[in-house]
C-alpha cells in the first residue's frame, strides 16, 4: 500500500511539480469515496437507531482511512483502522449494548423550530467554510510529501514525534492515566461488606420466616421479573413480597407502580 501511494506521489511530484492538480487515479478514488463518506455521515445523523449510527460512523472512518492512504499517509490510515474503528467504535458499541440497545431515539422536536434553525445554521456555516477555504486553497500549490516521506512515512513521523513533538508525546501520558483512573472511579465498586457465600445465604433463608419460594408473579402481573410482587385479583401485592434486589435503582417503580419503570425516566 505504502509503496504504491509513495510511488504515485513521486510520479505526481515529478510530473506536476508544485501544480495543484492531483493524479487521475487519486481523483477517481476521491470521487468514489467522498460521496460515500457524506452519505454515511448524513445517514448517521438522521438514523433513529443508535447502533445504526455507530455502524455508519464506522463506514465513515473507513472512508477517511482510504483518503489518508491516498494522500501519502499510510501510517495514519493504519492507525485510523486500528484505533478508531478497531478500538474506539467498539467501545461505543459496547456501551450502546450495555445501556440498552432498544432505546431508539425519538425524533420529535422538543424545541420549536430547533431543527430548521440548526439546518439553516449548518448550511450557512458550511457555505462560509467552503467559500473561505476555497478562496485560499484552490490555487495553493501542493508541495507533496515525496521529500518528507523519502525514508518512508513511519520513519518520517517518528523523526518528528521524537524530536519536535516529544514533549507533547510525554504529556499525553497524563491523559492516558487520567482516562484509566476516570474509568476506575466511575465503574469500579469496592466491596465494603463481605460477600455472602451461598452457604450463608441458604442458612439465612431457612433460619428466616420464609424458606419456601415466593409466590410467582401470576396472571395479573404486568412484569415477570423476579422482584415483581405477585398481584392478587384486586390488584394489591400478595404478601410476602419478594426481597428487593440490591442496587436496583428503580425498585420503587417496580414494587409500587405496575405501569413499570419505563415511565419513570422523565425525571421531572
Amino acid at each position: 500500500m505504502s509503496t504504491v501511494t509513495t510511488a504515485t506521489a513521486t510520479a505526481t511530484a515529478t510530473v506536476l511539480a508544485a501544480s495543484p492538480q492531483t493524479s487521475v487515479s487519486e481523483a477517481v478514488v476521491f470521487w468514489i469515496v467522498a460521496p460515500v463518506a457524506i452519505a454515511a455521515a448524513l445517514a448517521m445523523v438522521f438514523s433513529r437507531h443508535a447502533v445504526h449510527a455507530a455502524l455508519l460512523l464506522v463506514v465513515d472512518f473507513f472512508c477517511l482511512a482510504v483518503l489518508y492512504a491516498a494522500q501519502d499517509a499510510p501510517f495514519l490510515a493504519a492507525v485510523q483502522v486500528i484505533v478508531y474503528t478497531g478500538a474506539i467504535m467498539i467501545l461505543f458499541l459496547f456501551v450502546l449494548m450495555l445501556v440498552g440497545v432498544d432505546s431508539s431515539d425519538s425524533l420529535v422536536e422538543t424545541l420549536r423550530g430547533q431543527r430548521v434553525a440548526a439546518a439553516a445554521l449548518a448550511l450557512g456555516f458550511v457555505v462560509l467554510l467552503i467559500g473561505a477555504i476555497g478562496s485560499a486553497t484552490l490555487q495553493m500549490p501542493s508541495q507533496g510529501l515525496a521529500a518528507a516521506n523519502a525514508e518512508g512515512n513511519v520513519i518520517g513521523i517518528a523523526r518528528l514525534l521524537f524530536t519536535r513533538y516529544v514533549f507533547a508525546f510525554e504529556a499525553t501520558s497524563a491523559l492516558l492515566i487520567t482516562a484509566a483512573l476516570g474509568a476506575m472511579v466511575l465503574a469500579h465498586k469496592e466491596q465494603v461488606v463481605p460477600r455472602v457465600s451461598q452457604r450463608e445465604m441458604s442458612r439465612r433463608r431457612f433460619a428466616g420466616a420464609h424458606p419456601t419460594p415466593y409466590p410467582s408473579p401470576g396472571v395479573f402481573a404486568r412484569h415477570d421479573a423476579v422482584d415483581t410482587p405477585a398481584l392478587l385479583p384486586d390488584g394489591t401485592a400478595a404478601e410476602p413480597r419478594p426481597p428487593v434486589l440490591e442496587g436496583s435503582s428503580n425498585q420503587a417503580g417496580r414494587a409500587g407502580d405496575p405501569a413499570g419503570p419505563g415511565a419513570t425516566g422523565s425525571g421531572s
Partner: protein, 516 residues
C-alpha cells in the same frame, strides 16, 4: 540513513519542574490509591498533593531567579517567560487553596463533599449505606492534580499541538470531578455530562482552528504563525478562519458569551470545591493561553480580530451582569458573576499592550482568589440537605455569623470593584490599559456593567445583614483548619492587593513580556 540516527531532542528539564512536580504528585497519588489502605488514603493524598504544589511553587521561584532571559525549551514547545511563570505561580497558589477545600471532611456529618462511591447508583440501598459511612472517593486528589498540571502547561505551550494536549489534560479530570458530588448526585452527574459534551464540542472547534492555522502557516509554532502573518499572501482567509475557530475553543473555556451557557449549570451541579477550582484555575489557565495566542501569534493582524473581541467582551459583560440579577441561587449567581469578570479581563486582552497584559495578569490573580474564597464560604452554609445555596436561605446570615458573612461581603465588594479591595485595583488596571490603547467605548460599557453588577452584589449584602434570618434557616458548619486556611489565604490576598497593590503590580509589569 537508518532510523537509529534520530538526534536526541534537547529538552532542558530544569524550567519544566513546576509542571513535573505537579504531575509527579498526581502519579504518586495514583500509586497511593493502589497501595495505601483505604482508611489512611485521604491524609496521605493531602500530604502528597500539597507537597507537589509547594514543590512546584519553589520550582517557579527558582526558575524565575535563574532564568532572567525568557527562553523556549523542549524543542520550542514550552515558553518559559514572565507570563508563564506569573500564571504558574498563581495557579499553584490557587491549587494549594483548592486542595485544602477538597480535603475538607468535617463539614458534612457524614464526611466530605465527595461521593462515597461513584459507581453505586444514586437512590439504591447500597448508596444509603455508603453515604452514612465516612468513605469518600479519594481519587479526586490525583484527578485534581492532573487537572492542575494541565492548567500549568496550557498557558506555557508555545505550539498549538501542545496547547491542545494541555487543554485536554486539564479538561478530562474536570469532567470527571464535576460528577462526583456527595449530595444531589443527579444534578452533579448531569453537570458532568453537559460539561463533557459541550467541552468536547468546543475542543473540536479549537482543533479545526489549529488545522486552518497549520494550513496557513505550515507550522503550529506560535512564532512561525507570527512570522507568516507578517507576509501578505492570498490565503489570508485561512488565517481568519483559524483565529475565529481557535477563539471559539478558548472563549468556551473562559466562559465568555456567547459560549457561556454551560457555566451556571456546571458550576451549580459540581461539588463546590471543584467549582472553586474550575472558576479560579481554569479561568486563569485559559486566559493565560488566550493571552499567549493573541499577543504572540496574532499581533500583526490585530485590526482584523479586535472588533470581534470587542463584541465578545461587550456581550460577555452584559450577559454576565444582567443575568446575575435574575438568579436566586448563590452558586449560579457567582457563575454569572464569573462570566461578567471574563468580559472585564477580555478588555485587558483587547488592549494588546504591555499594560494590558500586566493588568490582565494582576486581575487573574486577584479574581482567582476572591472567587475561590467565595465558593469556599458557600461550602460552609448548610442545612440538612447539604449546602443551602438558595439566596432566600442566606437571609440574615450576617446576624448569625457576622464574621463569615463579613468575609463573604468583602469578596462581593471585590467582585463589584469597590476601592480598598483587590477588585478595584484590578479593574482599574485593565480599564486604564484599554483606554491607553484607544478602547474607550469598551471601558464605558465595562463601567456600566460594573455598576449593574455592583447593584446585585450590594443587594446580597443587604439581604445578609439587614434582613431578619428565617427561623428554619441554614446553620454555619464549623470546618477544620483546611477550609479556614483556604478562606484565610483568599481573604488575605483580596485585602492586601486592595490596600498595597504596588509590589504585585511591579511584579506583573516585570513579567509582562512574552517570548516569541
Amino acid at each position: 540513513m537508518t532510523p537509529t540516527d534520530i538526534p536526541a531532542p534537547s529538552i532542558a528539564y530544569g524550567p519544566l519542574w513546576p509542571m513535573i512536580a505537579v504531575f509527579l504528585a498526581a502519579a504518586i497519588g495514583v500509586l497511593v490509591e493502589a497501595f495505601v489502605p483505604a482508611r489512611r488514603r485521604r491524609p496521605v493524598h493531602l500530604v502528597v498533593a500539597l507537597a507537589g504544589l509547594t514543590g512546584g511553587l519553589v520550582a517557579v521561584a527558582l526558575v524565575a531567579r535563574n532564568h532572567h532571559h525568557p527562553t523556549l525549551i523542549a524543542e520550542r514547545a514550552v515558553a518559559v517567560d514572565g507570563p508563564t511563570l506569573f500564571i504558574q505561580g498563581t495557579l499553584l497558589l490557587l491549587g494549594i487553596a483548592a486542595v485544602l477545600l477538597l480535603g475538607e471532611r468535617s463539614l458534612d456529618s457524614t464526611g466530605g463533599t465527595f461521593v462515597a462511591a461513584a459507581a453505586v447508583v444514586p437512590g439504591s440501598r447500597g448508596e444509603r449505606q455508603l453515604t452514612a459511612s465516612s468513605t469518600m472517593q479519594t481519587e479526586v486528589f490525583p484527578l485534581a492534580m492532573f487537572a492542575l498540571g494541565g492548567m500549568l502547561l496550557f498557558p506555557a505551550s508555545n505550539n498549538l499541538l501542545l496547547m491542545f494536549v494541555a487543554l485536554e489534560i486539564l479538561s478530562l479530570p474536570l469532567y470527571l470531578l464535576a460528577g462526583l458530588a456527595r449530595r444531589r448526585r443527579l444534578l452533579s452527574q448531569e453537570a458532568a455530562v453537559k460539561y463533557f459534551l459541550l467541552g468536547a464540542f468546543s475542543s473540536a472547534f479549537f482543533l479545526y482552528g489549529i488545522a486552518m492555522l497549520y494550513g496557513y502557516a505550515g507550522s503550529v509554532d506560535l512564532g512561525a504563525i507570527f512570522t507568516a502573518t507578517g507576509t501578505v499572501g492570498s490565503n489570508d482567509t485561512l488565517l481568519y478562519l483559524g483565529i475565529a475557530l481557535l477563539s471559539v475553543g478558548l472563549l468556551f473555556k473562559i466562559g465568555a458569551a456567547p459560549f457561556q451557557n454551560w457555566t451556571p449549570d456546571v458550576y451549580q451541579g459540581s461539588p463546590t470545591p471543584v467549582t472553586a477550582l474550575m472558576a479560579s484555575g481554569t479561568k486563569v489557565a485559559a486566559f493565560g493561553a488566550l493571552l499567549r495566542v493573541f499577543y504572540v501569534a496574532f499581533g500583526p493582524v490585530r485590526w482584523d480580530w479586535r472588533p470581534l473581541m470587542w463584541g465578545v467582551a461587550i456581550l460577555t459583560m452584559g450577559v454576565g451582569a444582567v443575568l446575575a440579577i435574575t438568579q436566586t441561587d448563590v452558586k449560579r449567581m457567582l457563575a454569572y458573576s464569573s462570566i461578567a469578570h471574563a468580559g472585564f479581563i477580555l478588555t485587558g486582552v483587547v488592549a494588546l499592550n504591555r499594560s494590558g497584559l500586566s493588568g490582565s495578569l494582576f486581575y487573574l490573580l486577584a479574581y482567582g482568589f476572591s472567587t475561590l474564597g467565595a465558593f469556599a464560604i458557600v461550602t460552609l452554609v448548610r442545612d440538612a440537605d447539604g449546602e443551602a445555596t438558595h439566596l432566600s436561605q442566606w437571609r440574615g446570615l450576617g446576624r448569625r455569623s457576622p464574621a463569615l458573612a463579613g468575609i463573604f461581603a468583602l469578596f462581593l465588594l471585590a467582585f463589584a470593584g469597590i476601592p480598598l479591595t483587590s477588585g478595584f485595583t484590578s479593574k482599574f488596571a485593565v480599564f486604564s490599559a484599554a483606554i491607553s490603547s484607544g478602547a474607550t467605548g469598551l471601558v464605558v460599557v465595562g463601567l456600566i456593567a460594573s455598576a449593574v453588577a455592583a447593584f446585585f452584589y450590594v443587594r446580597v449584602i443587604v439581604l445578609m445583614f439587614f434582613e431578619a434570618p428565617a427561623p428554619d434557616g441554614p446553620t454555619i458548619a464549623v470546618p477544620s483548619v483546611l477550609t479556614y486556611g483556604a478562606i484565610a489565604l483568599a481573604f488575605a490576598v483580596t485585602v492586601v492587593l486592595g490596600v498595597i497593590p504596588g509590589p504585585l503590580f511591579t511584579l506583573a509589569d516585570k513579567a509582562a513580556l512574552f517570548v516569541r
